[in-house]
C-alpha cells in the first residue's frame, strides 16, 4: 500500500494484468511513442504518460503504437478481442469516437447478441474525457451517455486512484466490451492504493458519503466535488449521501433508489451535456420508481447545452463547480 496517482494506478493495473495474462495487449497512438523515430524508445508512454514503461517491460509485440487511424485500430482491437486476445485500446480523447464509433457500437457492442450468444469480445477502450484543460470543444467532452445508450457496452467512470485500479483490472478480466473513461483532470490525484491486484465489481455503486438529508449522485470528477460539498454542509447540519455509481452501464439503480428513499431529496451532478445525459436518466428513474419518496423536486447540476468553450473564463462558467452543487443541495434541502 502506498500513495499512487490516478495515472499510476491505471498504469499498475495494466502492468499487473499483462504480467498475469499473456493475451492482454495494449494499443493506441503513442502508447509507447517514438515508433520509427530516431530518438528515444517509450518516448511518451501515452500522451499523458499513462502507459509509460509498459513497452520496455512487455515489448513492441504487446504494446503497439498505431497510426492516427482510429477506425482501423479500434476495429482491430474489436477483431482481436473476438478471436482470443484481451486488448486494451486507447482512444486518446473520447471526442475522437466520431471516427471509430461504428467499430464500438455496431461491431463490439452487438457481437454477443447478433451472434446468438456465441461471441465474447473482451475489449477495453480506455479514453480520456472531461473539461478543465482549456482544450476546447473537440478535446473536452464527456460523451459517456452515448456509450451508455448502447446495449452491449459496459461503461466505467472511475472517480479516484483506488477506484481506477480496481475497475481497470475488472474491465480487463470482463468478457464484454468495456468503455473506460478517465477524467483528464484526475490524473494527478493521489490516494492510498494497494500494491496487489484487486477488482471492483461493475454495477455496484459506492457511497462515498452517507447522510440523511440529501442524496447526491455524481460521476467522475464530480464525485470529489460532491464530497467536498457534503463535508462542508455536514458542518452546517445538512447531511448528504454521495453516490458514485462507478459504472453507468450496468447502473446500480437499487442503491440510487434506496438512498433516495432514505433522504427524499436528490441532486444529480453530471458533467455531460444536459439533454439525454445521466442526470436526466437518473431523474427519470427516480421519478418513476421513487416519486412518493421525494420531498422536493429533483435538481440536476450540469453544464449548459453548448459545446465546451475555449476561453478560460468561459470554460470555468461551463463546468459544474462545488459552488453550483452546493446551491442545488441547499435548494432541495430547503436551506
Amino acid at each position: 500500500m502506498s500513495k499512487k496517482s490516478f495515472r499510476q494506478a491505471i498504469n499498475e493495473a495494466l502492468a499487473q494484468e499483462m504480467r498475469r495474462d499473456p493475451t492482454v495487449i495494449v494499443m493506441g497512438e503513442d502508447n509507447a511513442g517514438g515508433m520509427g523515430a530516431p530518438g528515444e524508445d517509450d518516448a511518451w508512454g501515452g500522451v499523458l504518460g499513462v502507459t509509460k514503461g509498459l513497452m520496455p517491460e512487455f515489448g513492441r509485440e504487446r504494446v503497439l503504437d498505431t497510426p492516427i487511424s482510429e477506425s482501423a485500430f479500434i476495429g482491430a482491437a474489436v477483431g482481436a478481442a473476438a478471436t482470443g486476445l484481451r486488448p486494451v485500446a486507447e482512444l486518446m480523447f473520447v471526442d475522437f469516437m466520431g471516427v471509430c464509433f461504428d467499430q464500438i457500437f455496431n461491431q463490439a457492442g452487438k457481437f454477443k447478441y447478433m451472434f446468438g450468444g456465441k461471441a465474447v469480445t473482451p475489449l477495453v477502450v480506455r479514453t480520456m474525457f472531461g473539461a478543465g484543460f482549456r482544450a476546447a470543444s473537440q478535446h473536452s467532452q464527456c460523451l459517456y451517455p452515448i456509450f451508455t445508450h448502447i446495449p452491449g457496452l459496459k461503461v466505467v467512470i472511475p472517480s479516484s486512484p483506488y477506484e481506477a485500479k480496481g475497475l481497470m483490472i475488472q474491465a480487463i478480466r470482463d468478457d464484454d466490451p468495456v468503455i473506460f473513461l478517465e477524467h483528464k483532470v484526475l490524473y494527478d490525484d493521489e490516494e492510498e492504493v494497494p500494491d496487489e491486484p484487486y477488482t471492483i465489481p461493475f454495477g455496484e455503486a459506492n457511497l462515498t458519503r452517507e447522510g440523511s438529508d440529501v442524496t447526491i449522485v455524481a460521476f467522475g470528477r464530480m464525485v470529489p466535488f460532491s464530497n467536498q460539498v457534503a463535508d462542508k454542509l455536514e458542518k452546517e447540519g445538512i447531511s448528504c449521501t454521495v453516490v458514485d455509481p462507478r459504472t453507468t452501464s450496468p447502473l446500480d439503480t437499487d442503491t440510487i433508489l434506496e438512498c433516495v428513499a432514505d433522504t427524499g431529496r436528490l441532486v444529480v451532478v453530471d458533467e455531460a451535456s444536459p439533454r439525454c445525459n445521466m442526470a436526466t436518466d437518473i431523474s427519470a428513474l427516480v421519478a418513476q420508481e421513487a416519486f412518493g419518496a421525494l420531498k422536493a423536486p429533483i435538481k440536476m447540476v450540469t453544464p449548459p447545452h453548448t459545446p465546451v468553450p475555449f476561453a478560460p473564463q468561459l470554460e470555468d462558467l461551463y463546468i459544474p463547480t462545488p459552488e453550483k452543487i452546493e446551491a442545488a443541495v441547499r435548494a432541495v434541502a430547503g436551506a
Binding site: 477483431g79 478471436t83 454477443k112
Partner: protein, 321 residues
C-alpha cells in the same frame, strides 16, 4: 494446379451449395417466407470458394452484406444458416442476427456485416491475434467494390501494412455498389491502391474458380510466411439485385441473362474439369442432386422450426450482467 480429385469435388460441392442455397432463398423470399432483407451471392461462388479452399481452421474471414456464400465456403452449416435467415431459434445465431449478421466464430467466420466496410478493421484484429499468439493463422477480409471506398478499408490497408499483419484483402467487384456502378464510384484501380500502400495487388477473373484459387493461394502463403498483407481484386457478377426485391432498373437490358449464360462460374468449372478429364460430368450431376436434397431439407426444416421466445429477447446482451 495442386488440387486433388477430392479438393475439386469439394470445390464444386461448395459452389453448388451456395448457388442452390441462394436460388432457393430467392424463391422463398418471393413467396414471403423470409423476413427482412437478403443480399444474395449467386454468381460470385468462385470467389468465396476459391479463396476459402486455401484456408484452414486457424484462419478467419470477415464478410460483407452478401455473406451467405462466404459462410458456406468457410464451412458453416447450411441448415443452421437457413434457419437463421428464417429467424428461427435454432438458427446459427439463435435468430437474433439474420442474413446480414450471420456468423459462426467456431468456423472462423466473423460475420456478414450490415455496415459496408465493417469487416477489414476486424480482420486486422484477427490477424493481430494470430500474429501475437503465433497460431500461424491468416485472416481474410472480403469487401465489395462499395466497401472498397470506405475509410475503414483504406485505413485497414495501412494498418495491416505498418503492423505487418497476415491479412488478405479480397475486393469482390460485382460492378455495382447497390445501384451505382463501380466503374463510376471507384477512383483509380484496386491493384494500384494496394501497391500504393506497399502491398502486392492482383486482378483475377472471378468467374474462374481456378484463377481465384491460384491468386488466393499465393496471397495466403505470402501472409502465412510473414510477408504481410496483399490484395486480390476479383471481378465477377451477381445474378440477382442488390437486395431481394431490387427491380434492377439500373442494369442493361438482357445483362443478367447474358452473364448467366456466358460467365457462369459453375458452368465454367464443369466445362474445365470435364474437358481436362479431371472429373466426370456424372459425378457433378450426382453432387447437384445431393445438394438439391440438402437445401430442400434445409428449407423444410427452417419453415417448421420454432421461433425464438420472449425470454430470448433479453439474453446475450452481456456475458454476465
Amino acid at each position: 494446379m495442386q488440387l486433388s480429385r477430392e479438393d475439386l469435388l469439394k470445390a464444386y460441392r461448395d459452389m453448388r451449395t451456395i448457388r442452390e442455397f441462394e436460388d432457393r432463398v430467392h424463391d422463398e423470399f418471393a413467396k414471403g417466407g423470409i423476413p427482412g432483407f437478403v443480399h444474395l451471392y449467386a454468381g460470385e461462388e468462385a470467389s468465396g470458394v476459391g479463396v476459402c479452399m486455401n484456408l484452414d481452421d486457424r484462419d478467419k474471414i470477415a464478410s460483407t452484406h452478401r455473406g451467405h456464400g462466404h459462410c458456406i465456403a468457410k464451412g458453416c452449416d447450411p441448415k443452421g444458416m437457413m434457419k437463421e435467415i428464417y429467424g428461427k431459434r435454432d438458427g446459427l445465431c439463435g435468430g437474433k442476427g439474420g442474413s446480414m449478421h450471420i456468423a459462426d466464430l467456431s468456423r472462423g467466420m466473423m460475420g456478414a456485416n450490415g455496415i459496408v466496410g465493417g469487416g477489414p478493421p476486424l480482420v486486422c484484429g484477427a490477424a493481430l491475434t494470430a500474429k501475437t499468439l503465433k497460431t500461424g493463422g491468416v485472416a481474410v477480409a472480403f469487401v465489395g467494390d462499395g466497401g472498397s471506398n470506405q475509410g475503414t478499408t483504406l485505413e485497414s490497408f495501412n494498418l495491416a501494412r505498418v503492423w505487418d499483419l497476415p491479412v488478405v484483402f479480397v475486393v469482390e467487384d460485382n460492378g455495382y455498389a447497390e445501384s451505382t456502378a463501380s466503374a463510376w464510384s471507384v477512383g483509380g484501380s484496386q491493384k494500384k491502391r494496394a501497391e500504393a500502400f506497399g502491398m502486392p495487388g492482383t486482378e483475377v477473373d472471378g468467374h474462374d474458380f481456378f484463377a481465384v484459387y491460384d491468386a488466393a493461394r499465393q496471397a495466403v502463403e505470402f501472409a502465412r510466411s510473414g510477408d504481410g498483407p496483399s490484395l486480390i481484386h476479383v471481378k465477377l457478377d451477381r445474378h440477382y439485385g442488390h437486395f431481394e426485391g431490387d427491380a434492377m432498373t439500373y442494369r442493361a437490358d438482357g445483362e443478367v441473362d447474358r452473364l448467366r449464360q456466358e460467365r457462369d462460374a459453375l458452368q465454367i468449372f464443369r466445362t474445365k474439369v470435364s474437358e481436362a478429364k479431371l472429373l466426370e460430368i456424372d459425378q457433378l450431376d450426382e453432387i447437384d442432386a445431393e445438394v438439391k436434397e440438402l437445401i430442400d431439407q434445409a428449407v423444410a426444416e427452417a419453415e417448421t422450426a420454432p421461433p425464438p421466445t420472449e425470454a430470448d429477447l433479453l439474453t446475450d446482451v452481456y456475458v454476465s450482467y
